[in-house]
């Protein structure tokens, strides 16, 4: 099936070029495709953003509702990340509940946000043990041309940074909305950078045809202080220690560049 999408010839060409430090689409090994970020395009959502990386297109919507906290963390809000690979986005996506790819994608985005403590969940408690805010981050892939992880993480971060919460006061144990909005308490800015290993070399931001050729994938998410907060290796190949450490260093640099597209500081 894959051979019907990318011809074997093209695949071979991609691998040969990478060995020479080149890529089929003319990029340098450590160069991203063009990135376009559009925040707040879904007005009915509390937060949203659309990110294009090349032809990959991901829309993230953030909804904020009230609900119960987890019993073991009664005084914190709840973060829920879900990803939908809707069949509109690729001939290989099928309708139905999230498959392992969608679940992995959602969990990588989730961990970047959670482990970097990007959202001050402790500020989202309304009544300890009873009522807290739930932050739903819905990742909606609209066109799949590779590197869904970085596009999704970037769209999620942008959406969160632009999320507005309504003001409220408590009256008789009930929430009463008040006029005005305040921003979601975002404290950190995790950015995912994904590498593909092709022909024993690393490239950043693989597009779809490179993903078909790659041996393995490595995503490293770093926070605003350059600390690593989350890693995920995927694919049926392996990495050497050297490759991992090289990737970690580059991830930190690339993330800093990408972060500037979202957060003006």
């Amino acid at each position: 099936m894959i051979s019907s999408i990318v011809s074997k010839v093209k695949q071979k060409r991609i691998a040969q070029l990478v060995a020479k430090g080149k890529r089929l689409d003319g990029r340098a090994l450590m160069e991203y495709r063009e990135i376009k970020i559009e925040p707040s395009i879904i007005e009915r959502a509390e937060g949203s953003a659309q990110v294009h990386i090349g032809k990959t297109q991901v829309l993230v919507g953030v909804k904020i509702e009230t609900g119960e906290p987890f019993p073991d963390i009664p005084d914190q809000g709840v973060l829920t990340v879900n990803a939908e690979l809707v069949p509109l986005a690729s001939p290989t996506f099928e309708p139905g509940p999230p498959n392992e790819d969608a679940i992995e994608l959602a969990r990588i985005v989730d961990r970047g946000i959670r482990e970097s403590k990007a959202i001050a969940l402790e500020e989202l408690c309304i009544q300890p043990g009873k009522k807290v805010f739930i932050v739903f981050v819905d990742v909606y892939v609209l066109n799949h041309d590779g590197n869904l992880i970085d596009a999704s993480a970037l769209a999620a971060l942008t959406a969160l940074v632009n999320t507005k919460m309504f003001n409220y006061e408590m009256k008789n144990d009930e929430i009463v909305k008040k006029p005005g909005y305040k921003p979601l308490p975002v404290r950190n800015y995790p950015v995912a950078v994904t590498f593909a290993k092709i022909n024993d070399k690393l490239v950043v931001d693989p597009w779809l045809e490179e993903e078909h050729v790659m041996d393995a994938r490595l995503t490293i998410t770093t926070d605003k202080d350059g600390k690593i907060c989350s890693i995920q290796k995927g694919g049926s190949g392996y990495f050497t220690t050297q490759q991992i450490l090289e990737a970690a260093k580059i991830a930190k640099e690339k993330a800093a560049e990408l972060r500037k597209l979202v957060v003006k500081t």
């Binding site: 009915r44 986005a89 909606y140």
Partner: protein, 244 residues
């Protein structure tokens, strides 16, 4: 959104300032998704709708294939963040019904007999909803079918009429749909005056109903012009690109 006191003001204008028979601002773009065989994007008021078409292509599972024509499949789906309260991404009963009636609305237009043993799959994603999304979905999907090069008798276009505060109105938004007295979504092929979708909820006399479908058809004809413009725009752009 709580219930407004009135849906029409003293001047007979609607909550968003429209006249009774006025459409919401509408915008369409054709061919915007890279992977799909055909695609279109539409904004109608606050509605934001994306449609993609894949096919004609081999049918999976195979036993569904028909020897003498293509099968048309349709999925109408709302993004979790498209509505006020987050919607579970699992298809609701409403989404399953709408997928069916939308397919029934589009099928009369498509020459399925040209592509035996294949399937044509239509995916409609409601990115933001503000009333009338089934109609907006049909209008967008018809453009995506055209963009995919699927031969059709005519474009299908849809629009609702309805009733609020005792008056017949055109192109209902969410509040009017929810708190008005009737909603009549209608789809048609304007070129051959064929109604391909018709539903109704509410309460209307026969006379009101007759006027409502006339109104909806008039709305359809206006949107039809925008559809054709959008296709032309794509065609022109493509042509210009080719000539460069």
């Amino acid at each position: 959104m709580s219930k407004p006191e009135k849906l029409l003001d003293k001047k007979g204008l609607r909550l968003d300032g429209r006249k009774l028979d006025e459409l919401r601002p509408i915008k369409m773009e054709v061919g915007i998704l890279a992977n799909a065989d055909g695609s279109a994007y539409l904004e109608q008021g606050r509605n934001k709708v994306l449609a993609a078409v894949y096919g004609p292509k081999e049918v999976h599972p195979k036993h569904l294939a028909l020897p003498d024509r293509a099968i048309l499949r349709c999925r109408y789906h709302m993004a979790p963040f498209s509505v006020e309260e987050r919607k579970s991404p699992a298809p609701s009963r409403r989404e399953i019904e709408l997928s069916k009636v939308i397919r029934d609305a589009l099928e009369p237009a498509v020459f399925l007999e040209y592509y035996p043993r294949t399937s044509i799959d239509i995916f409609i994603e409601i990115l933001q909803a503000d009333g009338g999304t089934r109609c907006a979905g049909i209008t967008t999907a018809a453009l995506a079918l055209a963009d995919a090069g699927i031969p059709m008798r005519d474009l299908v276009v849809a629009c609702a009429a309805g009733k609020a505060d005792g008056k017949l109105i055109l192109d209902l938004m969410d509040l009017e749909d929810k708190y008005g007295e009737a909603d009549v979504p209608l789809a048609m092929m304007p070129g051959i005056n064929a109604v391909t979708l018709l539903q109704m909820d509410g309460s209307l006399t026969l006379e009101e109903f007759e006027k409502a479908i006339e109104m909806a058809m008039e709305g359809c004809r206006k949107i039809y012009e925008v559809q054709k413009e959008a296709l032309k725009a794509k065609y022109v752009t493509v042509k210009e690109e080719t000539e460069e």
